[in-house]
Symmetry: C2
Subunit: 416 residues, 2 copies
């Protein structure tokens, strides 16, 4: 059961002009499972993406990077995305690259574009070959299913071990015209037994020039998918791609145009909602935690501290137990790697909604702190750990979930 | 139940001439529990230590650093160690420092030395005040218990949530004289609900000059306590101290003397055995794993990769399940942060005893690898993950344990 998250209803996911989505059962790894999704983009769309930093990046990630670079350098623009679940096509060497390229070529041929105009995505079991024949055989059915109001189906089509489909949608009015932003994501913990990957796809019918789109894609990733952790394991296939079709009749080039601020904010909001949904559906999660660090010298050091707290198995199990175990939080702050950190200057609060409790200051427990106050806050399903480092004005937040018996159960199961 | 580890019998722990050990029940936090240990050192002993890198380091750690620095700078040498369990005296601010200093002063007065000649150690609950009155009241009984053949009792006296006492002993003959090295350690996972700390104490009756002792202490720590991880959480109190009494009539100053190589090796062996015992007794541990990385450019990058693998909850749960989940190991290698790592050059083996299986090469599963071979090795209680980075000649090893239901159970329990 995800923490305070339910898939939006189909009618709450607004179609994006210029985007078609089709889903089918291709039997990639299991029968009777929607496992193949095709997304088409109108001619003239711009596309940008950010991908895993894992050195063992999957074959489709390598192909995506290559096709996006070519499009940016003047080749014909991206016109389609193809996503399969079941097999991640990661750790598959040269044959894996060949199947990723063959996937692009097959879809391109059916859509009348070139292979370089297709971006491939795979998620599922690592180290096993992608059955490209079955994937290609499924393409006609996915293409036949293409329609604009199919985001709900596509959100289901990219799921692996997710317990709920993840999607978000916003509308912004710019200069009397409605701009739509809709996205889907998947991931539930980085990996269930060999099942990998966090994926995020977001489209808007605004027109966004390539360099502006690249900048806002990176910014949105930095404020969403790059701020979450379930278990600290970075997958081989993580991808976040944003497409702008320009069909709404509103175009942004420099970012100085009226309405850009609203569109940018909405885009980041959608990305953040999609990213947080992954944490809320984290493997075994019973709590959603924000670790908000402020008063740092740089955003990077704030995030470093936030990740140390968010990754600590001891902190995560304490949240599972609703145990306000302050020593664990302070210890994680202390080992986060800030060499000249003065622990006397640090303050720590636990908060749930409007209920905020100062728990630590001056290198130890706050004088007014009472255990029952901490315990009360920890009972909540949504908790903020706020940490003031007291040495600057930068801030950074990381979202995570707790660590339960079910995390071990899910991840200790044999691959099924 | 620790993995392949049992406390050595009392007679297997050789007395170290010049070292006395006394243990008593002081009722620091719970009654009927040996919780106070005093260790005395003959005049002329040299002492060196390494301590936690956590910025929230505990009051006794601060006092130890200060007293060791003073002794090195010419003050009277260290003559006693005092260790209490129950309360860690960490996160206790200025009052915590005062109680640590008061502890030293009380023991010093009873032994006829100065407070600066005493090193204090505390382990237990963080953020709570140390009941120094009870500790001081227990000192006479601990002193009355002082004897040379009391290592077994001392190993029990420093336990907190350890399920077994940890100790190791070696004898080396140098120039016809017997040199003895005996040590004890504690720790089982860094922290059980608010119970902190890994401690290691090692003594030898060899004479070792201060600077040589400092160097070998650091080297031994780097090859033992700094190579283990249960959950990645660095405690506030971690301490490893080595004392050399010189009572064996063998002295080392430069390290060029005959016999030093053997003594140095024995000292590192004892430290490694003490450190590995902590992992074998890791919270909920059912397997002991060595992650041995070779072929790196530097030892540091090898350790970085080894720690990424050893810290991955996904890898650790796979070992718990005896699931040869190679994708998780490769993914952890990939995200370890070696920016220019060429994954094509990496090879990975799983080994148990003489049974070695090549599982991955050329960026994916090894051609000859069969799942049943990996599964067979994973059934063992002692497993080596060997990783060749294929880019240099450095190596580094980390020891860890698996991640079981019991880890969550132990750490999600309320503090008791």
């Amino acid at each position: 059961m995800p923490v305070n998250y339910a898939t939006p209803a189909p009618e709450a996911l607004f179609p994006v002009a210029g985007v078609g989505l089709g889903v089918t059962e291709a039997g990639i790894r299991k029968a009777n499972r929607r496992d193949l999704t095709v997304i088409t983009l109108a001619e003239g769309s711009t596309v940008a993406g950010v991908f895993t930093a894992n050195r063992f990046c999957a074959a489709p990630v390598q192909v995506c990077r290559s096709h996006l670079a070519a499009a940016r350098d003047g080749a014909a623009g991206i016109r389609a995305l193809v996503v399969n679940t079941g097999i991640a096509n990661a750790g598959t060497g040269a044959p894996g690259l060949a199947t990723a390229n063959a996937t692009c070529a097959a879809l391109a041929e059916k859509l009348g574009v070139t292979a370089g105009q297709v971006l491939p995505f795979s998620t599922g079991v690592i180290l096993e070959p992608l059955p490209v024949d079955r994937l290609v055989a499924g393409l006609p059915a996915a293409i036949a299913d293409l329609k604009a109001d199919n985001w709900h189906a596509a959100a289901h089509g990219i799921m692996t071990t997710d317990t709920v489909a993840k999607a978000a949608s916003r509308r912004v009015v710019v200069d009397g015209k409605t701009v739509t932003l809709t996205g889907i994501s998947k991931g539930a913990g980085m990996i269930r037994p060999n099942m990998a990957t966090m994926l995020g796809f977001l489209a808007t019918d605004a027109g966004i020039a390539q360099s502006l789109l690249e900048a806002v894609t990176k910014e949105a990733a930095d404020q969403s998918f790059n701020c979450i952790t379930v278990d600290g394991d970075t997958s081989t296939n993580d991808s976040f791609v944003v497409a702008a079709t320009g069909q709404a009749g509103v175009a942004f080039v420099s970012g100085n145009e009226p309405g850009w601020a609203e569109v940018r904010t909405a885009l980041i909001d959608v990305a953040r909602e999609l990213a947080q949904a992954i944490v809320r559906d984290g493997e075994g999660a019973t709590k959603f935690m924000a670790v908000a660090v402020e008063g740092g010298k740089t955003r990077e050091e704030c995030r470093q501290v936030a990740y140390a707290v968010a990754h600590s198995p001891l902190v995560k199990t304490a949240f599972f137990a609703s145990d306000p175990n302050l020593g664990r939080i302070l210890a994680a702050v202390g080992y986060a790697g800030i060499a000249d950190l003065d622990v006397d200057g640090i303050r720590v609060w636990l908060a749930a909604g409007d209920d905020t409790v100062l728990v630590a200051e001056h290198g130890g427990r706050a004088a007014a702190y009472r255990e029952e106050d901490g315990a009360r806050v920890m009972q909540s399903a949504e908790i903020t750990v706020r940490i003031d480092l007291g040495r600057g004005s930068a801030a950074g937040t990381v979202w995570t979930c707790d660590f339960s018996y079910d995390y071990v159960k899910i991840n200790a199961d044999y691959r099924s």
